[in-house]
């Protein structure tokens, strides 16, 4: 269509007359509008692949940034804010009380030295001659005197723990290996372990030092149950 001809028609910018583009012509010879259509083709596999990859990435991203699915406070914890990514991190960033520090230290010692026999759960292995610590009357005396002695020089002979008799438990003495602080922390951890159901008082390093000195003569010799029972429960 020439420019001149266009002037007599409505101008293209509204497209009213020029609807023949893509349209059809009716029987009166006049152009008619038509609505858009779409072709069908397969979708590129690359695009679907991209979606899957990004979904995987997205899942990992959410897991690592705050979802904390296996964390202590449950999944999607409401107390974990940026820049923390898990409840453990929040806990660690909070200043600890003295008690927390002692217990943390004691736990480390326990895991390294004692857990191989007495287990992380504190239930020991009674079938193999390892008495439990959870609920043990030797642990839960009012004062830690007996327990300190056991840890220092270990036990031989028959000893009854939580209704079961153990003969010659093969426990090594720790007098030369653990210092006062470590020993006190360890004993506190065992005595005050809520997870095991223990709720006795903690032991202080000074007390351990005191008992160590008082039993210096017993070094190298293991305690028997009778000797231990001589020690009053409130000492």
């Amino acid at each position: 269509m020439s420019r001149k001809q266009k002037d007599n028609l409505s101008v293209t910018n509204s497209g009213v007359a020029d609807v023949s583009v893509g349209g059809s012509v009716s029987s009166t010879g006049v152009a008619v509008e038509s609505e858009p259509t779409a072709e069908q083709r397969p979708i590129s596999v690359l695009l679907i692949g991209l979606l899957i990859v990004l979904l995987y990435w997205g899942d990992m991203y959410v897991m690592e940034h705050g979802a904390d699915v296996s964390g202590k406070a449950g999944s999607f914890p409401p107390v974990v804010y940026d820049p923390f990514q898990s409840y453990a991190q929040v806990e660690r960033a909070n200043p600890r009380s003295e008690l927390d520090l002692i217990l943390a230290r004691g736990r480390n010692v326990f895991r390294t030295m004692c857990a191989p026999c007495h287990q992380d759960t504190g239930l020991g292995n009674p079938a193999m001659g390892v008495p439990p610590l959870a609920g043990s009357e030797w642990v839960l005396t009012d004062a830690p005197g007996r327990m300190i002695r056991i840890v220092l020089d270990s036990v031989s002979g028959e000893i009854q723990v939580a209704g079961k008799t153990y003969n010659n438990p093969q426990m090594p003495p720790w007098r030369e290996i653990l210092n006062d602080e470590d020993m006190a922390a360890l004993i506190s951890y065992v005595r005050f372990n809520k997870d095991w159901g223990n709720n006795a008082s903690i032991a202080k390093p000074e007390k351990v030092k005191e008992v160590r000195a008082a039993t210096a003569s017993h070094a190298g010799r293991q305690w028997t149950a009778q000797e231990l029972l001589q020690v009053p429960p409130n000492e």
Binding site: M1, Q5, D7, N8, L9, S10, V11, T12, N13, S14, G15, V16, A17, S20, V21, G22, G23, S24, S26, S27, T28, G29, V30, A31, V32, E33, S34, E35, P36, T37, A38, E39, Q40, R41, P42, I43, S44, L47, I48, L50, L51, L54, L55, W57, G58, D59, Y61, V62, H65, G66, D68, F76, P77, P78, V79, V80, Y81, D82, F84, Q85
Partner: protein, 529 residues
């Protein structure tokens, strides 16, 4: 191909309600429009052939049925646009000259900017989008608009609601929530108006003559259902039974994201998918790809709202979900980009001739840029530097005016002549509208982005004094003020075009009515041919 004289000697006015309006020769810009066929239109065959169960209603009848309600929506939308942009211009001025008009609470920056945004979002964008939605649904359904008078009432109610809310914000009753500043009484009116419109739209959709659905209908249907949900939920959870504490910010962020992405954005995408194939006369490249893009957008854009809250007082996992969903928006972005480009391939120069296509292609380009930028800005690492800066503001304006605005203006440009069966008053005004809007939006976006980068570098990555660094961004804000001015001029051109066309389309009624009054004889329809 149309014959030289589309009037063709055939009688013009048989099935149209306008009797002998306007003739060629009134002005060089104005000429007779072609009459549409009075016979039934035969559908071009589609590759995915679904048998049409009923014949479509003739196009002119469809357009005639949409005429009054949609025109009301368009015209009120254009007026609100002018009001909104004027106030945004004023706020931009206040950002670099804070003393301007600062002596009354009604015009303080903190009130005019939310008022302007609400005017633009609900007064212009939503209304025009609803008008386009209704018209497009009718056209694609091949049926007339249902319950036209109800929509007319709803449109008036909508305007009442927006006016009440607008004045309420300026008076100090703004709620303080982003994009929901209108007081409760206004939002209730809006919701009722929308409910009426929604019902009519769904009925129109339901009674479509062709059961097959085109891509645009998915987006329109989706938008129709999403908006009342988010609007009622957000208003309920923020204004009626407010949630406690920071959950309010969460609901707010969820709402604004879905409002832009999946209410205005969906309709904008529907427009682009509709006009690009239609105006170049080729089918859309790939329907399955379009479906893929639609569902991925629907799913991930819904979840990406909280990436506005990075670094905010919200647990980490919530932000992580939104950030991840935001990154996944790459998939629908690529899908639509491929689809549009391969449909348009080789036909880009048509945009030079066809103004509607020009608006739509420009809008599509802005959409791609805005979406990509949004994905980047939504990640934690980038937001460290860019959060709370002008860059985010500029990005929102790009999405709102560069994408939504442009495609809506393009649709307006196409639809209005068909509603009034009359050409635009002056194509030069249309060109002015396009150029000023495009330049304005571009200037606003570039200026605010550049200023925002500076803003972010100094504020978020450095410790320079706040007052000094804000002063350093002032020249950029000044440039953006220029952009607003351009945008305002462009909308002025639109409004002028619109008003003249409307006046002319009403002219024959006025004239015959006047003749009727003047003469004592019973009316004889004047043949002003």
């Amino acid at each position: 191909m149309a014959s030289d004289n589309p009037a063709g000697g055939a009688p013009i006015t048989q099935d149209r309600s306008f009797a002998g309006h306007g003739q060629a020769g009134l002005s060089p810009c104005y000429s007779m429009t072609a009459p549409a066929a009075s016979t039934l239109v035969s559908e071009p065959s589609r590759p995915s052939a679904v048998i049409a169960t009923q014949a479509r209603v003739p196009t002119t009848e469809i357009d005639a049925s949409c005429r009054v309600p949609v025109l009301l929506l368009f015209v009120s939308g254009a007026i609100w646009l002018l009001v909104g942009i004027f106030l945004l211009l004023l706020s931009s001025v206040k950002l670099h000259s804070p003393g301007v008009l600062a002596d009354t609470a009604w015009l303080t920056l903190g009130r005019i900017r939310p008022a302007a945004m609400n005017a633009v979002l609900y007064g212009f964008a939503s209304q025009t989008a609803i008008g386009v939605l209704l018209w497009m649904l009718c056209r694609l359904a091949g049926t007339r608009l249902f319950f036209q008078s109800t929509i007319l009432i709803a449109g008036m109610l909508w305007n009442l609601g927006v006016t009440t809310g607008f004045v309420g914000i300026l008076a100090g009753a703004g709620t303080g929530f982003d994009w929901l500043e209108m007081p409760r009484y206004a939002s209730v009116i809006l919701f009722v108006a929308y409910a009426l419109i929604g019902i009519c739209a769904v009925m129109t959709f339901h009674f479509r003559r062709d059961p097959a659905l085109y891509v645009s209908q998915w987006y329109l249907l989706a938008a129709l259902f999403w908006f009342p949900w988010i609007y009622s939920a957000a208003n309920f959870l923020l204004l009626i039974q407010p949630v406690r504490g920071v959950m309010q910010a969460v609901v707010n962020a969820w709402y604004t994201n879905i409002f832009l992405h999946l209410w205005l954005g969906s309709i904008g995408l529907a427009v682009i998918f509709y006009f690009i194939p239609k105006l170049i006369g080729r089918p859309l490249y790939n329907r399955w790809l379009a479906a893929f893009g639609f569902w991925t957008l629907a799913f991930f854009a819904n979840l990406s709202g909280l990436n506005q809250l990075t670094g905010g007082p919200v647990p980490a996992w919530m932000i992580s979900i939104s950030v991840a969903a935001g990154v996944l928006l790459i998939v629908p972005l690529i899908s639509v980009a491929i689809n549009w480009h391969l449909t348009l391939a080789g036909n880009y120069q048509r945009a030079k001739e066809d103004m509607t296509l020009r608006f739509v292609v420009f809008g599509a380009g802005c959409y791609l840029i805005a979406e990509a930028l949004g994905i980047v800005l939504g990640t934690r690492e980038v937001s460290v530097a860019t959060h709370y800066t002008y860059l985010e503001l500029g990005h929102r304006y790009l999405a709102l005016f560069g994408f939504v605005g442009m495609v809506l203006w393009g649709s307006l440009h196409y639809i209005v002549p068909r509603l009034v069966q009359m050409d635009w008053y002056c194509p030069k005004l249309t060109k002015t509208h396009f150029r000023c809007s495009a330049l304005g939006v571009g200037l606003i976006f570039v200026a605010l982005s550049a200023g925002g980068v500076l803003h972010g570098l100094k504020m978020n990555l450095g410790t320079e004094d706040m007052v000094r660094l804000v002063r350093a961004t002032v020249p950029f804000v000044g440039l953006s003020t220029l952009g607003w001015l351009l945008l305002l001029i462009g909308q002025g051109a639109l409004l002028m075009n619109l008003f003249v066309v409307l006046r002319r389309s009403v002219e024959p009624y006025r004239r015959s009515a006047w003749e009727l009054v003047r003469s004592d004889n019973p009316a004889q329809p004047e043949e002003s041919s």
